[in-house]
Symmetry: C2
Subunit: 431 residues, 2 copies
């Protein structure tokens, strides 16, 4: 018999249409939402648990469509540096030393941060991925995981083999909370022939692909020099887009690139903060949305952000494109919320109802303290959440029907232990 | 005899140089800092109060150099609209109805938000300013206030008279926490002859001037059409820049404009969020800094932000210019902190040591909970505060030597009453 919960007295933002209930209830049975309604629950059912959400907003958990969780270990280690110097002299030498255990503890720290800030699903592309999957399994979060693949010797073949093994071991594991994508890193680290092997593996395993595309202007220039075409066009040529694809960044994409992406229904992970902080640029989000592309939001790794805060990504997605395009009506608040919830779920090839509160949807939801000065007066819940709110307002988190965070405490994790292990790991890595 | 306080076991960011103490102490006597040191206090003095700041960062309070506090009453009332429609059909009709009492309660709500988010000094240009000054006096915050002046009939003369009266009544009032500037609204609302009268009044009262300049491209175009020159050049011509001037926005300023601003040492309030949200654009901050201009950060009114969160302004000032200029080393984290503290104080013509923790400085300081996931690992306090932190981490606030916020509770204000009065005010204004 599955446990049932009634959440009552909640302000509810269901993300099924652009409105909210000032007072409503949600019924949950097992890991699914059974019913969402306005006012008081009038039905006859009894419940294993009743939660009073007075003074709180309940909304779908946030979905982070791009990142490298364990890079929290590099947070603040090297900022305000040119990109290549940052990567080559700072990030890579440290990453080379990371063991599965380091990545396990780094990912735990990242998950702790994500849970406390209202993220219920995250995306990861990294290495030693068993460490990541273990952290996901234990913590109760939902995740879409890829073993990152570099298509150069000596580890190119191993990356394909390990990706296959990882998918067989972890796809749909942890009660279905984990799904796996294949993760070729980027066109500049995976030659065309290698990408063709990835496409074959994707067909064999029936799994979509995630890849970094056109993040920097330099990368596009190099592609044109090496291959005569843009990274997007090159991906069309190697057949990658014949497979369901999630493309991260897409900052430097031309109108023609966007046409190609639209033709193949390429999904996009838009990472406003990382693109700003690394000086990569501002993605042409308005054009991508106009063409009907499915776009989610991502934080990227914390080394280039420097947090994993989806409230900030929402706010920035809604604000930056207004400023850069001199257009105050570009990307409204509700669209930013959609990108962080419903559109995020679609971006990750997850089932359609994830990212909403409606009957049949997976019970991934977050509670926010709405009793903050910046949520007054009560003109507009949607605008308040996007333009005025912050992740620190999240008090409780339910994932897959289980309470994972209660009153800001993560029930599945030992916070002090994680800080200690992360510090120990860094003491060794940065020695 | 003035009360003395010892703050011990604090991580201290003094903002006197680009470094911090992992453990240190601060002595305060009356409203001034007496001593700041690393490690434990070894002196012989005894104290009226000892505060243990274990696990916290102590840094100077943040300084908001531009805003319209009572506009919090319009927060979320009308977003995602074209600028002129927003102003003419939404903001102005409501503002026309506001009484001094409405503005008093609106300002109280704004101050509540600012105190809780670590702002210890704010700047205001609005109307019915006695209501604002009363709210400042009662709350214990520091403020720089201007009666906004519109230079068109029927109230142009009254605005000058009321500005004089306001300055005589409130300049250096509230134990010196209030200072007054003259506030002609903008060149497009104050004709040249009127601005000359403001310059005379500024000389008469020996007070600086604050004004909105070159916020939108349209405004600059109109100035060139009407006067043959940019708003900046026009201000030079009318003699405004012969007086100490704080110019808010300066989004659309040419290289020549920046030369003029540099020549007259015009101070700038940079408002990254408001400029983005209203689609005004991105100010050429890098060029202004290169020319040595004194630049502070501001939120502008909450109707175009939609909060009064200086942590967000810092973060955005450090990130947006990297992205827009494709330059990852533009505006580093420490510069963003300076703009929000030391440079902010200079921008507002306040005494030199405000915005720092050092002997002789006014005791305006804030405490932050440093025990959050995004502050781990401990690589770099400065980067963490700017790129990863949030205003919700502020736990305690001291202003002018007095504890104003303790453990997130504002001691000088009745939070629930303010929410209630703000709601009542809105019910009437928006009826």
């Amino acid at each position: 018999m599955e446990a049932s919960t009634l959440i009552k007295n909640a302000r509810i933002l269901p993300m099924t249409e652009e409105t909210w209930f000032d007072e409503g209830y949600i019924l949950i049975k097992g890991n699914r939402i059974l019913e969402v309604g306005e006012g008081e629950y009038q039905g006859m059912a009894s419940f294993d648990k009743v939660m009073d959400a007075s003074g709180k907003v309940v909304m779908p958990g946030l979905i982070n469509t791009h990142g490298h969780a364990a890079m929290v270990l590099l947070r603040g280690y090297a900022d305000d540096l040119p990109l290549m110097e940052w990567l080559q002299t700072k990030c890579w030498p440290i990453e080379d030393k990371m063991t599965e255990e380091d990545i396990y503890w780094g990912t735990k720290l990242a998950i702790l941060e994500m849970l406390k800030s209202g993220t219920t699903t995250f995306t990861d592309m990294y290495f030693e991925m068993d460490g990541v999957a273990r952290a996901v399994e234990e913590s109760g979060i939902r995740a879409v995981l890829s073993r990152g693949m570099i298509g150069f010797p000596p580890k190119a073949e191993q990356a394909l083999t390990q990706s296959r093994e990882f998918a067989r071991k972890w796809h749909r594991a942890a009660d279905g909370r984990i799904t796996v994508l294949l993760g070729p890193h980027a066109p500049y680290t995976c030659p065309p022939d290698y990408l063709k092997q990835v496409v074959s593996l994707s067909e064999e395993l029936d799994l979509p692909i995630q890849i970094h595309l056109s993040e920097t202007a330099g990368e596009v220039e190099q592609s044109i020099k090496d291959h005569g075409v843009s990274p997007i066009k090159l991906m069309e040529q190697v057949g990658l887009f014949n497979r369901p694809t999630l493309a991260a960044h897409c900052v430097h994409v031309s109108d023609e690139d966007i046409e190609i992406m639209s033709k193949y229904n390429v999904h996009v992970a838009h990472n406003p903060d990382s693109n700003l902080k690394l000086g990569s640029g501002v993605a042409p989000l308005l054009k991508m949305l106009e063409k009907g592309l499915t776009v989610g939001l991502g934080t990227d790794g914390a080394a280039s952000n420097n947090n994993l805060d989806m409230f900030e990504e929402m706010r920035h997605a809604a604000m930056i494109h207004k400023g850069v395009n001199l257009d105050p009506i570009a990307v409204n608040a509700y669209k930013a919320l959609e990108m962080a919830t419903t559109d995020g779920a679609k971006t990750l090839f997850l089932e359609e109802k994830l990212g909403t509160l409606q009957p049949g949807a997976l019970a991934d939801l977050i509670f926010l303290d709405y009793n903050r000065p910046y949520y007054h007066p009560r003109h507009n819940l949607i605008a308040h959440l996007v333009y005025a709110g912050q992740s620190g307002d999240v008090t409780d988190v339910m994932i897959d029907g289980e309470m994972i965070v209660e009153n800001r405490r993560v029930l599945t994790m030992d916070e002090e232990r994680i800080y200690e292990e992360a510090a120990n790991t860094c003491n060794r890595l940065f020695a």
